[in-house]
Symmetry: C2
Subunit: 724 residues, 2 copies
């Protein structure tokens, strides 16, 4: 890629971004779009924005910048606040690195008059940008000292910022857990791997007697996990008919115009996709179905809670301290049974995974790990080829009909600039759902945990495949011909190929932040979908609400994508320091736009009180180690004798990771008693805590009819009826 | 070593063993020696032996064999019982392996007519024994299949026995911890890393308020760890004068013979070693010193408990369940402060290590690890030379005056057989105390833990240096000349050297079991020392008791020594299966003799409820992995194409270790609540539990004077006086 196509890439990216931002400013001021641009505020019962109606078009920037961490926590939870700590930590690392590296290393490289020993082999491929990189420094030059010190500087800046970040997040987590609000999950513990009962009691009796013996004074009651598959199926069918009924009734009401006061009753066909079969009156049909399903659901609920009890349970304690203490202790003499852990929030429980036994979990985990390792390994080959093949020349050969378009100069330049990057982005977009599925198959009990597991897999995937694959693959491919002629020069060519790839990654980063964040801010896709749905599909309030539901932040893919950028920027930070400003813009812009989205748009679907942080922390460190090893290899290629001074760096990183995990990690993996012992605001209503964990499909339909579940689930004296 | 010197070695070993055993039978029947041969029974208040006085001389064998595990536990504790599980597990592994390997592999090797391709280079060194080993099988022979299957057999036998052993020990441990006896350490927890108090309270107030907040209902009281160095010094001096006084009084009483009823008052000189200086009356002098030291000790005790409080404490709970639960929970938000762990027994607390802070411990640990690694690495070189140099030829050259003795045929044969082994044994005897010192320097809080740490270090040392050092070093040295001539033959020579070394290890094992266990049984050294002391030094009952104090089992060195034998026998089990019977005799004889010692002689100095087992388990597995890798290398040297089938074995071993640690380990590292919640026999006397932890030097001298320590240590209302 030459310099002009790089500038074109930057400029078009920036123009797209500007257009998208202006679109946002214009669209977000129209009241009809409020539910798309301010759903989080609306759901919390706030006005879309504060202050006068006709406000400054760029007020959102001010709002984002002036919002405090406390605002973020109250609007979007601790997990989101932790994500911003992550963004600002990375930003701080890059700014602090850049402040030293840019003014020092760029002049060092630019003032070097490169001998043309390598230019001669790769005739003219060397761009202006590459002259500012370490590739421009000749081998064994004393100028390499500056780069060596730069490598140390980046390392220690990272340590310092990460240490501060961990401390801060640890405080955030503790403060959230100490909050006087009653949160059901803080009074519960999850019990798995309940062994076969030798005395033939029901699971319920077994669990109750076990915990009454050990926690005689703090145990409140237990809820045995049941196999809800059947009940869930019936319940979902029922819900579907209810929605259909509401929809049909809305249509019926709307058809009662002045001209036709009796209206038209909607009808539908029963066959395939509503296209064939008997024609029925929808309202009557749905009513009939609902009346049929309610008793079916009730009897299935009864069967489920009495006969489908499984080897897991949720146990409730009458204080947070007791629950936190129980969740940290080994209960059974054989620790592979009666595993007690902290309960996740009810909304994020993966109910069907709870009953999976210890050894099955371990086996599932091993299989998933091996499988993911294979996927990572075998995807590296095609990815290497993507970056090499998606050039215009190859495209012209493969798709000759595009020739006439491609030959227009502007389009050609743009395509040349973006094609490899777009191919890469599309490729990466296919993966996360697949990895999430795999993570859930491991037998993980909660959504948040599954997201962390997915994020880890995705991180290894992106770093190994994209970064290493593109660097090594691209370099090898572009220099393949040269190697063919002079195989003994392969090593020195690889050395120059690494900084040459910097421009590829510069464009990649620029594309991501300008176009990606532009789309994020403008929310064009959700906006269009919402308006289409509102116009053609939605008839009831509930349907409308569903149409604008903003979804959550999506950490599972957001964090690894950011991590990829961090890895790229860190690895090139010393080799081609010009990448640092791009990284700063990426994370700065990201911080600004996501802050806006966090306080106005997204609604978190779970809260894990910052448990994502240790993963972010250790993955930034992993990136740092990749960076350090890259630098080590690169200095070796430069034949610099003091390269040996870089060997302690990866050891420092591992030691730092070890110290941090010793100092902080345990208070993330479990709740410290010091934190759990804070008083709650009011005497907790244990009944409602218990009910918060009853899955939707097992909740009673009628208010008075709750006793049977009460008795079956709780086997306690009746203290009130079970409500939805 | 040729075949005749091997037989000589075996025969002499066996004769020595027989002599020692007969000595034991004779000596142990003399009542005057009872305190040497039955101290454990005597200290427990039992008769030296049950049944008629003039019993069968070999009754001890019957007694050892018929003693049950419960007998061992009641006489010597759970740790000793676990050691016997270790011995019998190893015995079972070897017997089960031998039952298949010996009848199959020996004929396979013996019926092979070896081509003389290797014999030609090492002319005649090949002994008869070596013909029974795998070295006798030519390369690429299909007979190697038998050895490959043998390798698998040994592996799976080990897995099976270890799994059963772990389960059994886990039950033993749980049963001991569930015992209704009140044990002080089960009601206490050790608190370390207490942070600086921001409110300026005393440590005592800080600890009390912290634990009262968190464990409001179960916290009983706390004991802050103090710096006792000064108090301890005074107390030891006082004890010394008390002993001296008792000794002098005994001499004085003895001197009151019928002829001289007033007696002679003993005197001593005050100067260097009692040889110079002023002559004083010993009784008066000691009384004077004691009266001087008692108030000094009391004032120092007062200062210690009020002013020398440190950042650690022992916290007492009013139930075992509460203590077990507290010891497993993270208390502080920053887990590097307020570290709560299970309290060790009072008698094995390493008081001076308790106050060492988290980071200091980590740093000490790192330094010790690096240092031990260096020691292990640099000792390997001299050890390699020991086995090569301690031959008679070298000795003759170095010490020419020995020539005349050495040339006598019998002596020559004996020396030739034993010299390298004795050198090795002496060398190994120097190390354990040094490693124990290093382990304690890590900041470990209890004696049992320090012993485990020492045992680990000693294991790595012996396995790496002795086994690998001797094998590789010995082989290289003996074949050095051949290599000089034909360097490309080095690899095949190493391959034949491995089985050739088998005879060295055969003699080593034989020497260890016959002579080592003979000495162990006969207790010749303690017997002689005891009789000398009784005759010339001891005057009082207390001195006599001290003279025959049997000491404890000494796991720290015993286990790694056994582990070395296991490693050797496992590694040669397939290469030279003839070693298996030697291993069986070693562990069989060891089991028999140590069973006798356990129930009659040794008095355990601590009880860790089998926490040694996970270490034994993982080290047997480590030996197994060494064995598997040795076999892999050896099969490669044999150019056997199906060697690849051995690659899964180490992976299986690591997986097995992982599964076992998941299934069992946590109930060893902490007490499961299910176990801790068992009722105790009587309502525990919390006062006496508290007092059990008061160190000897801080105990009050007078019964009524205990209040000050009571107040200072406990700061509780006075419930009784502190007794010694």
């Amino acid at each position: 890629m030459d310099f002009s196509s790089f500038v074109t890439s930057l400029t078009t990216s920036f123009v797209i971004f500007l257009v998208l931002m202006l679109l946002y400013v214009w669209l977000s001021r129209r009241p009809g779009n409020n539910v798309v641009y301010y759903p989080n505020r609306i759901l919390k019962g706030l006005e879309p924005w504060e202050g006068p109606k006709s406000r400054n078009p760029f007020a959102w920037i001010g709002e984002a910048v002036s919002s405090t961490e406390a605002d973020v926590i109250s609007m979007s939870g601790v997990d989101t606040a932790v994500y911003f700590v992550f963004l600002s930590s990375v930003l701080a690392i890059l700014v602090l690195s850049g402040l030293v590296l840019l003014p020092v290393l760029l002049p060092v490289a630019a003032t070097e008059k490169m001998k043309s020993n390598i230019n001669s082999t790769s005739s003219g491929n060397f761009s202006n940008l590459d002259k500012l990189s370490m590739g421009n420094i000749p081998n064994r030059s004393p100028r390499l000292w500056a780069y060596l010190i730069g490598t140390y500087w980046v390392t220690f800046v990272t340590f310092y910022i990460l240490w501060k970040g961990y401390k801060h997040v640890s405080d955030l987590r503790a403060r959230a857990l100490m909050s006087p609000e009653v949160k059901p999950e803080q009074f519960a513990a999850l019990v798995r791997d309940i062994p076969q009962d030798p005395e033939g009691r029901t699971r319920k009796e077994q669990v109750d007697s076990y915990f009454k013996t050990i926690h005689s004074e703090t145990f409140y009651r237990s809820m045995v996990v049941t196999d809800n598959k059947q009940a869930n199926k019936i319940w979902e069918e029922l819900e579907q008919y209810r929605k259909k009924l509401a929809h049909a009734e809305a249509i019926f009401t709307a058809s009662k115009t002045a001209g036709k006061p009796e209206g038209t009753r909607p009808t539908n066909k029963l066959g395939f996709l509503g296209l064939v079969g008997k024609k029925v009156d929808t309202i009557d049909y749905c009513n009939e179905k609902i009346n049929e399903l309610i008793p079916k659901l009730e009897s299935e609920q009864k069967t489920t809670v009495t006969e489908k009890q499984q080897a897991a349970a949720i146990v409730f304690f009458n204080s947070r301290l007791a629950a936190a203490s129980a969740a940290q202790a080994v209960h059974a003499q054989m620790p592979d049974s009666w595993t007690v852990t902290e309960a996740p929030e009810p909304r994020q429980l993966l109910w069907s995974n709870l009953a999976i036994k210890y050894y099955e979990r371990k086996i599932r985990q091993s299989i998933v790990y091996v499988f993911v390792a294979l996927v990572i390994f075998f995807y590296m080959i095609p990815i290497g080829f993507i970056s090499a093949f998606t050039t215009l020349e190859n495209l012209k050969k493969l798709l000759p009909f595009l020739k006439s378009i491609i030959n227009i100069v502007q389009i050609k330049t743009i395509l040349e600039a973006y094609l490899p990057q777009i191919a890469l982005l599309v490729f990466l977009a296919l993966l996360p759902k697949f990895l999430m599925m795999l993570s859930k198959a491991e037998g993980i009990p909660s959504e948040a945990h599954a997201v962390r597991a997915t994020s880890g897999k995705y991180f290894y995937f992106t770093v190994l495949n994209v970064f290493i694959g593109v660097t090594v693959g691209g370099t090898l491919f572009s220099t393949f011909k040269t190697i063919e002629k002079q195989p003994n020069k392969a090593v020195s060519i690889l050395g120059t190929g690494l900084p040459a790839n910097a421009t590829f990654f510069l464009t990649f980063v620029a594309l991501k932040f300008f176009v990606g964040y532009g789309l994020e801010l403008s929310r064009l896709v959700p906006l269009i979908i919402f308006h289409l749905k509102r116009k053609y599909i939605c008839k009831t309030e509930a349907e409308l609400k569903e149409a604008w539901a903003p979804g959550d932040f999506g950490y599972g893919t957001r964090v690894p994508n950011d991590m990829l950028i961090i890895t790229i920027v860190l690895c090139y930070s010393v080799i081609a320091p010009i990448i640092i400003p791009f990284g700063v813009v990426y994370f700065g812009l990201g911080w600004l736009i996501l802050r806006n989205q966090a306080i106005k748009v997204y609604v978190p679907s779970y809260e894990s009180y910052g448990r994502m942080w240790p993963h972010m922390h250790s993955r930034i460190l992993a990136s740092l180690v990749v960076y350090q090893i890259t630098m080590l290899g690169y200095f070796v290629l430069k034949e610099f004798v003091y390269t040996i001074l870089l060997i302690p760096l990866p050891i420092f990183s591992i030691f730092f990771a070890y110290v941090c995990s010793g100092k902080f990690y345990r208070s993330f993996s479990s709740t410290p008693l010091e934190v759990a012992c804070r008083e709650v605001k009011e005497i907790p209503n244990m009944e409602s805590i218990f009910r918060a964990f009853v899955p939707a499909c097992l909740r009673s339909e009628k208010f008075d009819d709750g006793d049977q579940f009460e008795d079956a689930l709780g086997q306690f004296s009746r203290t009130g009826s079970l409500s939805i």
